[in-house]
């Protein structure tokens, strides 16, 4: 198993390097930090722009490979370069990464758990009313883009606020600014702010996973070994969970990894719509400001998370399915 995992890990490392280089090359050539400085009022002198660009490692007169080398050299020391406002990228990164991870982790985990549970339940109750309802619901959800779900939730919250006269569920930001009180009050505040963004992310996952899970579960339900397990004296519930669900989750593990990127893209919209100052919002903002180093930092973040979840899926796969290990 270790050999298998080591092989996957080295493959992912190569992928990561290639992806980051590609991201750097594209951002460094397509974005134009020069226009950002040129557009300043009063317009700075040409030499001064040149000097600033070089100092920030953004000068387009330097070959891309050389700039990448400089950037990668810094990365080895944990330095992600400087933003276009001449502040360290790592500062922004450190602040925003937790905001995003909070949302991403809870949203995707909730989507996975609920999706698997709903799918398995739906399979067991095939063709009953509850299965039908879940099917219709997931079809509608699958046909609604994440940003639209987020907008609808936000509109709902605004309507609730107008009706009640005060804010029922918060729909901007990730905490109440200047909130007093102890840790408990802060945690409650965080949870409340997380509610709508998390729902908007988790619903998409719920719909997708439940469809697939229902399928894999149905495949398993008719199998002989499940009947054998029951014949040996296991209750139906235990047999379903221990023998059925375990087998049915295996093909899903790869899917969880692949879908992370989709969830992150969804989170970009969710963050922007709900006013979260996370990685997604940072990306949109830095693209608009031609801030190459920040864009690359977000790229690096997603690539690392995608590959980490891919590796996690491989590990899970190997742990659940003994055939992979050999």
């Amino acid at each position: 198993m270790l050999r298998y995992l080591a092989k996957r890990l080295s493959y992912y490392a190569v992928l990561l390097i290639a992806a980051v280089f590609l991201a750097y090359a594209i951002s460094a050539t397509a974005l134009q930090p020069r226009t950002y400085f040129d557009a300043k009022v009063p317009r700075p002198a040409a030499e001064s722009v040149e000097r600033q660009l070089t100092a920030l490692n953004l000068n387009d007169h330097t070959p891309v490979v050389e700039r990448f080398g400089h950037w990668a050299g810094g990365l080895l020391h944990g330095d992600l370069g400087r933003t276009i406002h001449d502040t360290p990228v790592t500062d922004d990164f450190g602040r925003r990464v937790w905001v995003s991870l909070r949302l991403l982790l809870i949203g995707s985990l909730l989507g996975i758990v609920l999706g698997v549970a709903a799918g398995a339940w739906s399979a067991v109750r095939q063709y009953r009313i509850s299965d039908r309802l879940l099917t219709v619901l997931s079809f509608v959800l699958l046909s609604t883009p994440v940003f639209l779900v987020a907008l609808l939730l936000k509109n709902g919250a605004i309507a609730a606020k107008d009706a009640a006269g005060h804010e029922v569920v918060p729909f901007t930001g990730y905490e109440t600014p200047g909130l007093g009180g102890g840790l408990g009050a802060h945690l409650a505040d965080w949870a409340l702010h997380l509610l709508l963004p998390t729902i908007s992310l988790a619903l998409g996952g719920l719909a997708t996973y439940s469809r697939y899970q229902r399928g894999t579960m149905l495949d398993v339900l008719g199998s002989d070994y499940l009947r054998t397990a029951e014949a040996k004296g296991l209750t139906r519930g235990r047999a379903l969970v221990k023998h059925g669900l375990r087998t049915a989750v295996i093909p899903m593990s790869t899917m969880f990894a692949y879908s992370f990127l989709g969830i992150f893209t969804g989170a970009i919209f969710t963050e922007t719509i709900f006013g979260w100052h996370g990685m997604g919002e940072w990306l949109i903002q830095s693209i608009n400001e031609q801030d190459v180093n920040s864009v690359v930092a977000v790229n690096l973040f997603t690539a690392v998370v995608v590959l980490a979840s891919g590796f996690l899926a491989d590990t899970l796969h190997a742990a659940l399915d003994p055939r992979v290990r050999s």
């Binding site: 594209i26 397509a30 907008l151 495949d219 969830i263 893209t265 969804g266």
Partner: protein, 339 residues
């Protein structure tokens, strides 16, 4: 995947084989969901392309006598803040979104089938290189590239946007086509063609691709929905179709802030978007049943089946958290029903 390969016993899967064509059609009509979906899609297309002729208003020309008017007999979907007719705008936006969705699905499916078939057929280093490319694009947030590159393509307009979307939408389909090709490669008719000295590309075109055709048809159908969702999401954030051109995405973007007060600016476009994607998904779902060679005759099937085993669509662009290509049906519903 085995189910698809089994189809190769009827290599004349083309419509001219009346028996199969009629069977597929009969099954499709028998599936209630697919029939509803097809009717909806036809109606929406009629609305998108016929709508502009139904109303005297143009999507860009303002009616200064009617600002922020709710829906009325004069302006069917109301008017916006500068007095533009929302019906004319919505119809026009729907038209653009549909065209983009169709083109993206077409391009990405063609690309996916070529790359997947070549990787699977040639194997070895071709396979490894192509699959590395697929993995690279899957790891790489395509959204980032589109957002970075799209402002630079302002002058070329929405066709460049279509190509960009297609470029990042083919990878998972290619993976499935590849694994189907690998098993097709070993089959007798492909072997026979090889021994007769038929050139590889011709074998791919004549023997491999027709045998994955039904998967591709289903996949392309559902890709239309995914592409429309991607388009609207990107346009919503100003990275896709740009004003003065309108699509459902730009309309949603324009209507969002006013939605609580002037709901007609937002909910008509939102409703049509969901309706269209839903209809396309229903058709894709019905097709999956109808094209399944293991399925019975024209009787109604009630189950859900998933062709090509697990098909994570997660890495798709922005669609839903992940788009549902193939998400809905699984081969087992019918199998369980058999003794």
């Amino acid at each position: 995947m085995t189910t698809v390969v089994a189809e190769s016993t009827t290599p004349a899967a083309a419509p001219r084989a009346t028996g199969r064509g009629r069977l597929v059609l009969a099954r499709l009509l028998a599936a209630r969901g697919a029939a509803i979906g097809a009717v909806l899609v036809l109606l929406l297309f009629a609305l998108a392309f016929g709508g502009p002729y139904l109303t005297p208003w143009d999507y860009a020309t303002p009616d200064f006598g009617a600002l922020h008017q709710p829906p009325s007999t004069e302006h069917w979907f109301g008017t916006n803040g500068v007095g533009q007719d929302v019906f004319a705008q919505t119809v026009r936006g729907l038209q653009k979104s549909l065209v983009i969705g169709l083109l993206v699905a077409l391009f990405s499916t063609v690309l996916a089938s070529l790359v997947g078939a070549c990787a699977g057929y040639f194997g070895g280093w071709t396979d490894r290189a192509l699959m590395f490319l697929v993995d690279l694009l899957l790891v790489f947030p395509s959204f980032l590239i589109i957002t970075i590159v799209s402002p630079r393509l302002k002058s070329t307009g929405w066709i460049a946007f279509v190509l960009l979307l297609a470029l990042f939408n083919w990878m998972i389909t290619a993976r499935v086509v590849r694994s189907m090709t690998i098993s097709l490669r070993e089959r007798e008719f492909v072997r026979a063609a090889q021994f007769m000295g038929v050139r590889p590309l011709r074998i791919i075109g004549r023997h491999v691709l027709p045998n994955v055709a039904s998967f591709l048809i289903i996949d392309a159908t559902i890709a239309v929905g995914g592409a429309v969702m991607s388009e609207t999401a990107l346009s919503y954030f100003g990275f896709g179709v740009k004003p003065p051109d309108v699509s459902l995405g730009t309309l949603l973007a324009a209507g969002t802030s006013e939605a609580p007060v002037f709901p007609w600016l937002f909910y008509f476009a939102a409703g049509l978007l969901v309706l269209f994607v839903l209809a396309v998904n229903l058709i894709g779902d019905g097709l999956r049943d109808a094209l399944d060679p293991t399925a019975g005759g024209g009787r109604r099937r009630r189950g859900f089946r998933l062709r090509g085993a697990s098909r994570p669509r997660g890495a798709s662009l922005l669609g839903g958290a992940s788009t549902p290509r193939g998400a809905s049906r699984t081969r087992s519903d019918s199998r369980r029903k058999k003794p």
